[in-house]
Symmetry: C2
């Protein structure tokens, strides 16, 4: 394709994106499609001869877009609602064109150094001590796996050479994200060696139970080596008590990893920085700009104050054979599993500069304010009830009825195309989650969802009275 | 940013990309910069207030681009020279805008099903049996790690719960990519449990030595569980004897993983499909479209004929608790470490359709022809010698002189900005690698590099005569 053709199709793609984002509320959030619909609509085999770009772009619009769940939609309120942003999209366009692999400093000085610069900026915004070394991975699952791998390397350095012995134990809350357990399984720790510590009535890890579990394991000859605290759990966005957990970690020599994949972004807001109080005592931390910092997927940021341990965990070369290198020429491939590394920092740089700290803080404050306002409506309403505290932009609530009714309400909303909500189970009950995180979400979007739910509830009581 | 502004900056980005790709030969392949230059040029802290997009785009051009190692350059001949392509860039633009997370079928039916469709297409092109299940990961490092994890699950299913016991042993050639060893370390197998099998004079794994090593381990009570064969090794692109290795794998119940990250793409060319002969006996295979299939990084394709084993390796739910699901609604997050999944198949779909099989085969044939032609020049020249067979588009050669002279030649080329070559060590000697893989590389590019080397060699002999 020559450059004139690229200009033509590139403009066309830009126009499509502009129109798409401008009219995003016209799309159903969740598409009405059945599994296999797209597979059935596409040819079984690839074309033998090339096809015109027009056909590909037409099919994109005609076949692909109708099968999209629109994470960009301001009423995408499921999971942790996330959104990219226009500066982030521009950054991705340019990164795709440059197509560098930042495995070594030499293979792309810009990718390496911009990663160092943007993570230094973000470190300051989050109030982290200067000794925290930052690196970008693809996902929080990978970031946390690297944290556990570094913890393993520190606790049992011989396992690097001889393999594991099934005696290391990891602790995390029963509300921790599944990626922690998955990471431990992947690393050979074993699922039975992951202790899920109970929570208090606000869904926060209970330090007394953590201490008890560690002592119990020590007494039977197991080796406690790592504890993972969460700032903003997936189910309820609860905040584990970092300093009390750090006390126990220090007592027993555990690596303390903090999973702040979602809520860490809130620490960018000066009056919310306290959520990371105690972070200077942690060994590592994950925050996902692709969650609540308006950066397109994927971009997960990992900080550790023990970069040498992290590097040793993945090192193929014994330390005494390492050759002297320019200390400013960091080779990020040494700090993880993945050799290939996209130029992810470019989109983050675009986002941080375009919005500035004040711009980002303003949006996050709004999201939290909408969540509080929605929670207040729920609290004041007899048909609904709040199911968990609301420290951030996630509201856990339920229709004052059965689990089946709550599931029916969620399906009604999602099937209508108006919005997309997800659910969780708290204290044995089905609970709905409304998570605000999209850069375009306005109060009116939330109000529409509330009105839908009120109407649905009204129909339920009529139905209940007659049925 | 409103949509008119996005249009403006989007067009500007498209224009920049078009101009960049059109004038790519004007850039030095490797920039003349020192570690820290970019860090020193950028502010120590992020802006408190947002900045105009113009400033960001200007700084991109003024500060970032001069620090780029241009993987797009047709004379980037280091590592495995790769390139994206314009259709791939368009696909990435749209994927960044849609910003979906394909973790579940429901979270993006299009991302899930297009992944199934494109990997079905590619499977046919590669001549793989239909039972091979495909999934996209980010990098070959992660793909191979997943292969080893599945092998572990199959060989020692109890380790999933209780953790590893340090007795599993993995086999691969001494020329295998470092990601195999790194994967084994990450998974808790232990570096000492990775056996590096010796190679023959064409750098292919020796089956006799493999069989010997497996027997030796069995005799001392170790558990051989996995062998990794490479089609296109990193140093020389050598081809391990797949069928002979499969014989041994079957004899001893080993999982056979095939690393064809680079050279697998060549199997798209009908007359080269034989390079994967025996693949139906393998348990898994990795091929990287971001290497030699003109797809921007990152996109690594993993196939396995044991998807259930792969899923169990990462399963948090005991098999007997799994609920019935629509078998057509695949949740790809169940098949790996990573929960978050970009919409990577979109760019692959654009590339496969735009070029078609014939279009891609034509480019790969050209690259191989250029490599053969370059190898012929080297063979006929007294100053240079071929250091390894040339089955694909990589030529290993050396200046007929000392290691220092070979390093000096490489540095002279790389410092000149004309081209970028890398090196390896074969039989104790420094060897230069010239790897062709860029979609825009023409014979004239290779000839320019050859002329540079000849001139350099001529200066050496003059210097030698007088010095």
């Amino acid at each position: 394709m020559n450059s004139d053709e690229f200009r033509r199709y590139g403009y066309q793609a830009v126009d499509w994106i502009a129109h798409y984002l401008e009219n995003i509320r016209e799309y159903p959030v969740v598409p009405k499609v059945r599994p296999g619909d797209l597979i059935d609509a596409l040819p079984v085999s690839a074309p033998e001869h090339g096809e015109p770009m027009e056909s590909v772009l037409n099919d994109f619009e005609k076949l692909i877009v109708p099968e999209i769940t629109h994470w960009n939609h301001p009423r995408f309120l499921a999971y942790f609602a996330i959104s990219g942003s226009v500066p982030g999209i521009l950054g991705e366009m340019l990164a795709a064109a440059l197509n560098v692999n930042g495995m070594l400093w030499k293979s792309s000085p810009a990718a390496t150094e911009l990663e160092q610069v943007t993570l230094g900026w973000l470190r300051q915004w989050l109030g982290l001590p200067a000794e925290f070394f930052g690196i970008i991975y693809d996902t929080a699952s990978i970031s946390s796996m690297h944290a556990i791998a570094a913890a393993r390397e520190k606790a049992d350095p011989d396992s690097h050479a001889r393999g594991l012995r099934g005696d290391l134990v990891l602790y995390t809350s029963e509300h921790a994200h599944s990626s922690i357990e998955k990471g431990a399984i992947t690393l050979g720790i074993g699922q039975e060696n992951v202790r899920k510590i109970g929570v208090d009535d606000r869904f926060r890890m209970r330090p007394d139970l953590l201490r008890e579990a560690v002592m119990l394991d020590r007494n039977v000859g197991k080796k406690p080596f790592c504890v993972v605290a969460t700032i903003g759990t997936t189910s309820t966005s609860s905040i584990d008590p970092l300093n009390e957990i750090a006390d126990i970690a220090e007592e027993h020599g555990l690596w303390l990893h903090v999973d702040a994949a979602y809520a860490g972004a809130a620490a960018v807001v000066p009056e919310l920085q306290f959520i990371l109080n105690g972070i200077e005592r942690a060994h590592s931390l994950v925050v996902n700009p692709h969650k609540w910092l308006f950066t397109p997927v994927d971009l997960s940021v990992f900080y550790t104050r023990e970069p040498d341990t992290l590097r040793r965990a993945f090192s193929l070369v014994p330390e005494y054979l390492r050759t002297a290198e320019d200390p400013r020429a960091v080779n990020f491939m040494d700090y993880g599993v993945q050799l290939g590394r996209r130029f992810r920092s470019l989109k983050l740089w675009f986002v941080l500069r375009y919005f500035g700290r004040q711009g980002i803080a303003k949006i996050i404050r709004e999201h939290i304010a909408y969540a509080q306002r929605f929670a207040a409506l729920v609290r004041e309403d007899l048909d609904f009830e709040i199911a968990a505290p609301v420290p951030f932009s996630l509201v856990c609530f339920r229709f004052s009825g059965s689990d089946d009714e709550n599931r029916a309400l969620m399906n009604a909303i999602n099937d209508s195309g108006l919005a997309f909500l997800s659910h969780t189970v708290l204290n044995g009950q089905v609970v709905l989650r409304l998570a605000i995180g999209n850069i375009e979400t306005k109060w009116d979007d939330i109000e529409q969802v509330w009105r839908f739910m009120k109407d649905w509830a009204a129909r339920q009581s009529v139905h209940g009275a007659h049925g």
